[in-house]
Amino acid sequence: MAVVADELILETRGLSRRFGGLLAVNDVSLALRDGELRALIGPNGAGKTTLINLLSGLMPASGGQIRFGGEDITGWPAARRARAGIARTMQVTAICPTLTVLENVWLAAQRSFGRPSALASRAPQIGERARDCLRLAGILARADELAGSIGHGDQRLLEIAIALALRPRVLLLDEPTAGMSVKESWDIVERLREIRERERLTVLIVEHDMEIVMQLAERITVLHLGQTLAEGTPEEVARNADVQRVYLGGR
C-alpha cells in the first residue's frame, strides 16, 4: 500500500500505549490521506478507543510518533491538537449539561475566531456557524434546550456538531452509533455523508456495525489485540483470511 507522503494528513509511526504490563496499542502505523474516510474496526478490547485517545491527545503515547500535516505532534496536549484541527467525539458523551445545546456548539465555534474576549458580546457570525453545525448534525430544533436534558441519541449528535464547529481537518468519531436504533444509526450515516460533501474532512470512524462500515468506508483498518491485523479497501479486508478468522463480520 504505497502512499505519497505529501498527501498524508494524519499518520502514526510505531505508536504504542502501555498500561502496566499490557500493551493496549502495539506498534501501530496508520496513514490517513487527506479527505479519506477510514473505518477502524476490531473486536472489543482491540485498542480502538485507546488509539483514538492517543490521536486526540487525551492520553500520552508510550512510544512512537504521531504526525499531523507533516508535523510531529506526539507531545502536543489535547487542547492544542483540537485548535490545530483534530476534532473527536467521545463514546461516553462529554457535554456541558448546564449550557444550552447551542452554547455547547458555540464554545467550539468561537474557538476559530481567536482568543475569547472578556467583554465583547457573542458575535452573530459565530451563532450562524454554530446553528449550521447543529443543522448538519440534525439537532437544530434542540438549540435552546439544556444539553443535560436532551436524550442520549441527541447528545451524540451534539458531540458531532461540536466537533464540526471546530472546522477540523480530521474528524475522529468514536462509535457514533453505539446504543442507537437502526434508523438512528443510518440517519447518522446520511449526515456523515452530507458533512463530508460539505466540508473537506478526513474521517476516522470507529464502528462495530459492519453494514455501516462497508457502506461508508473507503478504506478499513482492522485492529486486533492492539496491533494492525489488516488494512485495505472493504473488499480486500472482507477477503482477508486473518480477518475472517479473528473477526467474522462483527455483530
Partner: protein, 304 residues
Amino acid sequence: MKSLVLLLALVLLPVGLGRFGRFFAAEIFTWALYAMGFNICFGMAGMLSFGHAAFFASGAYAATWSILYIVRDPWLALVAAMVVATALATLVGFFAVRVVSHSFVIITITFSLVLLLLAHSQKDITGGDDGLLFPPLSLVVGTGPSLATPLVSYYVALAVLAVVYVLLQRLSRSPLGLVFQAVRDSERRATLAGYDVQRYRWLAFVLSGSVAGLAGGVYAITHSQVNAQLFDITVSVDAVIWTLIGGAGSVLGPAVGAALVLAFTHLVSNWIVYTQIPVGILLILIVIFWPRGLSGMWRSWQTS
C-alpha cells in the same frame, strides 16, 4: 431593563434612610461585591474556594497602607487593593488550579490560614487584632465630601458595586464567560474544544481574587480602619454561605444572599444579642425546607 430600575431605586434609597441605614447599606454593598467576586471562581468557573478572605483582607490592608504611606487618596487605595489582590491570586492560583477539587479547597484554606497567622504575628505592620486606623478620607485628596459621612460611603460603595456588576454581566455573556462555564461543566469538553483548562481556571481565579480585593479596598476606605480579623476563616465561609443562599447561578445571586443574611442578622439583633444563633438556625431551616435556595428564582436574570 430590570437592573436599571434596581439601580435607580438604590440611588434614591438614601432619602428614606437615616445615618445608620445608609451606613448599613454601604456595608451590604461592600460584602455583596465581595460575594460577587467570589462567585466568579465558584459559580462561573466551578472552583470552591474557602480562602477568599485572604484576597479581601489583603486588598483592605493594601488600601490602608497606600493611604498611610503613599497618599491619602481613596481611588489610589482601591487600585492598590486590586493590584495586591491580583498579584496574590496570580501566585496562589498558578499552583492551586493544578490540583483536584478537594485539594484545591485545602490549598485555598492553607493559603488563607498562613496569611492569617502572618497577620497576627506581624503586629507591627498589621496592627494585629487592634488593626490600623486612619482619619477618614475625602473623595478627592484633601478636599471634597468626607467618607466619614454615611451618604458618601453609600454612593461610593454603590458606584463600585454597580460598575463591577455591569462588567461581570458582560463577562458572563462574553466568549470568555462561556469558556469559564464550560470548564466548570466539563473539563474534558472544554479541552476537546481547544481550551487550555488550567489557563482559564487560573484566569478565573485571578479575576475572582481581584474583585474580592477591590471589595476589601472599599471596606477600608469606608471604615477608615482594618484589622487582622478580616483574614479569619469566617470571612471566607461567609462568601460561600451568601453565594449558596442567594444562588450561584447568576451574577447578582451572591449579592442578594449577602444582603438577605446581613439584613436578617441586623433585624434579629433588635431582640437577640447573640445574632449568629438565629442565623445558624436560619441556615439549617433553609437547607431542610428550601434546598433549591433562591437560585432557582434568580436564574431567570442570567438568561435575560
